[in-house]
Subunit: 387 residues, 2 copies
Amino acid sequence: MARLVDAVVIEDGKALRLAFADGGTSRFHAVWLRDNALDPETRSPRNGQRLITVLDVPEAVRIGAADVSDGGSALVVRFAPEGKEIVYPAAFLAAHAYDRPHGGERRGWTGPEIERWDRGLQEDLPKAAYGRVRSDRQALGAWLAWVRRYGFAVLTGMPTTPGALCDVVGLFGYVRETNYGRWFEVRAEVDPTNLAYTNLGLQAHTDNPYRDPVPTLQLLACLENTVEGGDSVVVDGFMVAIRLQEEWPEGFDLLARYPARFSYAGTPDVRLEAKRPIIELGPDGELIAIRFNNRSAAPFTDIPYEAMADYYRAYRRFAELIEDPAHAVTFKLEPGELFIVDNTRVLHARKGFSGSGTRWLQGCYADKDGLLSTLAVIENAHRETTA
Amino acid sequence: MARLVDAVVIEDGKALRLAFADGGTSRFHAVWLRDNALDPETRSPRNGQRLITVLDVPEAVRIGAADVSDGGSALVVRFAPEGKEIVYPAAFLAAHAYDRPHGGERRGWTGPEIERWDRGLQEDLPKAAYGRVRSDRQALGAWLAWVRRYGFAVLTGMPTTPGALCDVVGLFGYVRETNYGRWFEVRAEVDPTNLAYTNLGLQAHTDNPYRDPVPTLQLLACLENTVEGGDSVVVDGFMVAIRLQEEWPEGFDLLARYPARFSYAGTPDVRLEAKRPIIELGPDGELIAIRFNNRSAAPFTDIPYEAMADYYRAYRRFAELIEDPAHAVTFKLEPGELFIVDNTRVLHARKGFSGSGTRWLQGCYADKDGLLSTLAVIENAHRETTA
């Protein structure tokens, strides 16, 4: 538990410096503290929303006085010119400290909640039973935590009824309906509008990169599978991106620096197009998304002539690393099994299959906002129970 | 119509240089041309998807020969080592030329489909009648084109039945269901879980920045409105961002360079969090999204101490420009009226209203992928009809 030992007003009251019992120090600005005040006039006690705007914070806001209180568990700040006195828990200040090194991370960094993986994950598939996950909140939390950690998880023991995968989405969030429907059939067709609806192998890919916003989760459930082949493969795109960066930093940068283009117009009522990079970084260099799909890649036109040959070399090398068996986790979906992927991170592939027998899958899309929210609610309830 | 006059193989066959009848020249790489070949072995004639991967393109691909044909309307390329001969329409090559200046645009550029606006738009509101838009594809196309151009449009003559706004979404795309439902009620409540459900004024904001992916469209429909006040206000966030850039480029850069944080936990079953910048740029500097919401802004922790004071100055100035009446378009929604905003661009506000009378709105979210796809289908059909 964070404990404060000292508070010193600095920069003529524009900031203060806190000393914590663990020896750390952290500065906070008056404007930041005032904007993030926790009193009921600043934050609604009912719903936690901020009741003021940044324009309600006086431009000349200063810290008049700052004192450690409650044996170090709180800080009392008196603001000028308002004369407002606000109490901040030491834990709140420690959790939101921003006076620390920033931007030293290499481009492509990810947070501690992400664990990259390769074929080693094959030995320990993140797999749970639908019956448990549906009836036990902690089991659901564990399964969702795998999706956050690995971008991938398997569910067994599903009913093989059409649309049952939407019930799985209902456990944590909401289906993203698209032109393919709330869910869609994935089986070989005579006159396919999408190559997914053939018995061809499909190179590892992320789905629908031609859509902006891209669906951030995809589920694929198996209802029947009596063909030869047709195995499912998943590849951690974050792992592959970092491997590319390790062996060729400039190649990684090329795929991040220039937008690619994707398009789909497989039926007359649809003309989807998007312009987004193959490797997407946040403004602070955080690795936030991978887009990769040979079938829907449109002609790339946003890369200068001088960079295009190297861009294609990087694209080819990225594809080679994606195809490298060292990165592949392979399994054959049985009826009643489903897998979910974080479609901004994990690529999925299908091996080709023979014409005899039936391979019947159903797919649907959903979004990570709901999944991560449900997971946070479960984790928070667990913390409060155990505390 | 683009017409070719000459084709010269360059760089030992790694590229070629085309000369067009209009005097322009454009180089293309062998690898790009091969990857984007239009023959039925490379692209499915049925659905337009690419049948090969970049790994199917020989690493040593070269242009053996290149000839203008069909009076300049096509280019015939023979590739080594495959010996494959591919025909490219001159129009395809002209439309996808990448040998042009790149990156010279200033950060925050937008394409020609975007028109920034200020209060002048008040005199010429992009407004159409639901009856027309529903029954006439060209009228629907015109209305959707306003959303693409201005990020905002109004619809009149809607039925005042609950959920009717979902039928509007059905004209072009799909509802994005969230924890608020497929649609949600916006009216004053006694114990509100969100400040939207009060009679308070709401500062201009984008919705749900605590959600990733953010809903890219929002619709607000009026079912009853007999209160004093409660006017709706919309502000072009792209215009405001560029105004900030014009008067203080470093301020613009600060809001684009560092991620902000947003959160919402207004009910016990929800803990939504997102980390995204207030001004989002693509890797090529294109202005792609604005996020701004005082109520759900979480403590910002991704900005270094050294930059935080200036960041807050930029945030304050951005808020002042958003509040500037020069940028505001104001109207009072009547029953049966609806407005749609591009929630990645246009902020909306509500003026406070009095307790007498009833103000009953319904809101829902949707996404731009479907809207832009439907618009492209309509425009393409129109082009083919008139051609």
